[in-house]
């Protein structure tokens, strides 16, 4: 048997090798576990590595192959799960001290679907606490470092999910995107990641941050890998009342379908002051390449974009203050050592258990939902949200997919933006509007800065327009080599 070279390996070739008995799932798992053991001390991608469980499940896949049965599309493919997906019997913390020690008695729908397709979960990936953040510095446990430059952040909140794929500490991963938490770290780490249509991927077993905005989705090095993982995790789930019942698209096929006749919209509001010139140049270059590939470029406008960040922070903090009310020290998680009354039990438990960012959002969310303030803030935000969604509805009459930058800058340095939460929020400018509208959006690498930091291109489709997005993304990737560049292993 050939020994698998896992650094930079693709999901398709890994699974094919397992099915063809070129290598065993167990060998793949050992190779990745070995890389994690050697490298993750520097990167901080994993909050928990489940070596024994991964080996056990790999052996099961190998037994399935040996018995001549179908091991599934993701046969033996080692993957990582953002620590926001609950995993039965495996600690799940959402990056928060308040959930330290929490061992769920049930499994999220999407992690169960991955397992059923033969994927092997290696462990739980680091994240900003409760998915609140854009740098992964809000993890209560440790920061994640960007594999392209260890002094820089990987983005967030799915920082561990993006960095682990970039550094080949797993072949693919799952994250969640509430306002950009898949796309922005994908951009900063030079990998591909997609926030599908809201409701396309089940939220059951995904620890809630902002329920009407939480989108689970996949990361891969390539867009095909993202498409493959999405085919496995997407689809109706009766356990999620917002899960879309329509059939799952053929995303892998779409990646190879070409973009003949497609119209790509370029929204003017996404190319304004505040963007790093290197980012702008790379994204403009990518859009030109897409045009050269045969797409028709259409200048378009999304006039309510300027309200998106404010709207997003109103909606997400209100919902977060509600979703985080359950962490009270009664049924699970952290509980203050001394509480002489209920009042103390709650306020001390929560005061000790939550980090600065969840506290800030709980306070802001509570502020805007108070009686007498609701209409001025939350109610208003919901109306603006409709207008933002209507912008997208209107623009998709004129084009099939939008092309924009993912993040106004490449990866920034750890600590650089921590002092000013508002500045951190404003950097979500390109990712929050598609989240508010619930439309699918993908980020893929479209170049590097002169400091060798990846730059991301964002492609946005209409509701359930994932296939259109993959057609552009697949064709662009076929014509470029950015996705082939790998960061050096940290020493």
């Amino acid at each position: 048997m050939a020994s698998p070279q896992v650094k930079g390996a693709s999901i398709a070739e890994l699974a094919e090798g397992v099915r063809a008995r070129k290598w065993k799932a167990r060998e793949l798992v050992e190779s990745y576990l070995d890389r994690i053991a050697r490298l993750d001390g520097r990167l901080g991608c994993y909050l928990l590595v489940d070596g024994d469980g991964a080996r056990r499940r790999a052996d099961q896949v190998d037994a399935t192959v040996a018995a001549g049965r179908d091991p599934g599309l993701l046969a033996g493919v080692p993957i990582g799960l953002k620590d926001i997906f609950v995993t039965r019997g495996l600690q799940t913390t959402a990056g928060s001290k308040i959930l330290r020690g929490f061992v769920p008695p049930y499994e999220s729908t999407v992690s169960a679907r991955l397992a059923a397709a033969g994927a092997i979960a290696l462990g739980k990936l680091n994240m900003d606490e409760f998915a609140m953040g854009s740098s992964n510095e809000n993890s209560a446990f440790k920061p994640v470092r960007n594999p392209w430059d260890l002094e820089r952040v990987p983005g967030g909140s799915s920082g561990g999910s993006a960095a682990s794929v970039a550094a080949s500490l797993c072949a693919g991963s799952l994250g969640t995107d509430t306002g950009g938490s898949i796309r922005q770290p994908a951009s900063l780490c030079g990998v591909a990641g997609m926030k599908p249509t809201y409701g396309r991927v089940s939220r059951y077993g995904v620890i809630a941050f902002a329920s009407s905005l939480d989108h689970p989705g996949p990361f891969g090095r390539t867009v095909e890998e993202v498409a493959t993982l999405l085919e496995v995790i997407a689809g109706h789930d009766p356990c999620d009342a917002t899960s879309i019942p329509s059939p799952v698209g053929r995303y892998r096929q779409a990646c190879a379908a070409g973009l003949a006749g497609m119209r790509v919209g370029v929204p003017e509001e996404y190319f304004q002051a505040g963007m790093d010139p290197e980012v702008e140049a790379a994204v403009r270059g990518a859009i030109d390449e897409i045009a050269r590939a045969g797409a028709k470029l259409v200048p378009v406008s999304l006039p309510h974009t300027q309200y998106a960040v404010a709207t997003y922070y109103l909606v997400c903090t209100a919902e977060a203050s509600s979703n985080l009310a359950r962490y009270d020290g009664v049924r699970y998680g952290h509980r203050t050592a001394e509480a002489s009354s209920l009042e103390e039990l709650y306020s001390k438990t929560r005061g000790e258990g939550f980090g600065a960012e969840p506290k800030r959002r709980i306070i802001l969310g509570t502020y805007v939902l108070r009686s007498g303030y609701y209409e001025a803030y939350y109610g208003k935000a919901l109306r603006v949200r409709r207008k933002i969604a209507d912008d997208f509805r209107a623009v998709f009459d004129k084009c099939d997919v939008l092309a924009t930058p993912t993040s106004p800058t490449a990866a920034f340095k750890l600590g650089e933006r921590q002092a000013d939460p508002l500045q951190m929020y404003l950097a979500d400018i390109y990712t929050v509007a598609p989240a508010l509208a619930g439309v699918p959006a993908l980020s893929q690498c479209c170049g590097f800065t002169k400091n060798h930091l990846p730059i991301g291109l964002q492609l946005i489709g209409p509701p359930l327009g994932e296939e259109a997005v993959f057609r552009i993304a697949g064709e662009y990737q076929r014509r470029t080599y950015w996705h082939k560049r790998l960061p050096e292993d940290p020493s």
Binding site: V103, P105, Y106, Y198, G199, S212, L213, P238, A241, T242, I244, P245, Q306, Y307, A310, T311, Y313, S321, D328, G329, V330, R331, Y332, G333, H334, R335, S340, S341, L342, E343, E344, L345, Y346, S347, R350, G351, E352, F354, K359, R360, I362, I363, L364, T366, Y367, R370, Y377, G379, K380, A381, R383, V384, R385, R386, K387, A389, P421, L422, L426, G438
Partner: protein, 102 residues
């Protein structure tokens, strides 16, 4: 003039059952003031008769059949309890004068 004062943050923190130190209150008041100023930009937009968008999906609430499924075991239900006694979760003594909601 500031949009929010430390006392208001204190009141909200009490409502959210979140104990904050004085330093946290100070810092948060400062940060929230800036954030609220920014957020207030949405108030400039006339939303007229626009319907609030409460959900990103456009279908009605799905309904499930009334079929009971097996419960979590008592052990599973209680396995994460910071404090338990027998088959119960344990909490500090409730002075039976709250009973909010209902």
């Amino acid at each position: 003039m500031s949009r929010i004062q430390p006392d208001e943050v204190r009141t909200i923190a009490a409502l959210a059952r979140l104990r904050l130190s004085d330093a946290e209150i100070e810092r948060m008041t400062h940060e929230l003031d800036a954030i609220l100023e920014y957020i207030d930009t949405v108030k400039n937009l006339d939303t007229g008769a626009t319907e609030p968008m409460t959900h990103a999906v456009r279908f009605d609430c799905p309904l499930r059949q009334d079929e009971p499924k097996p419960s979590l075991s008592v052990e599973e239900a209680l396995q994460n309890a910071p404090r338990r006694r027998d088959s119960f979760f344990e909490v500090p003594r409730i002075v039976p004068s709250t009973g909010e909601g209902g």
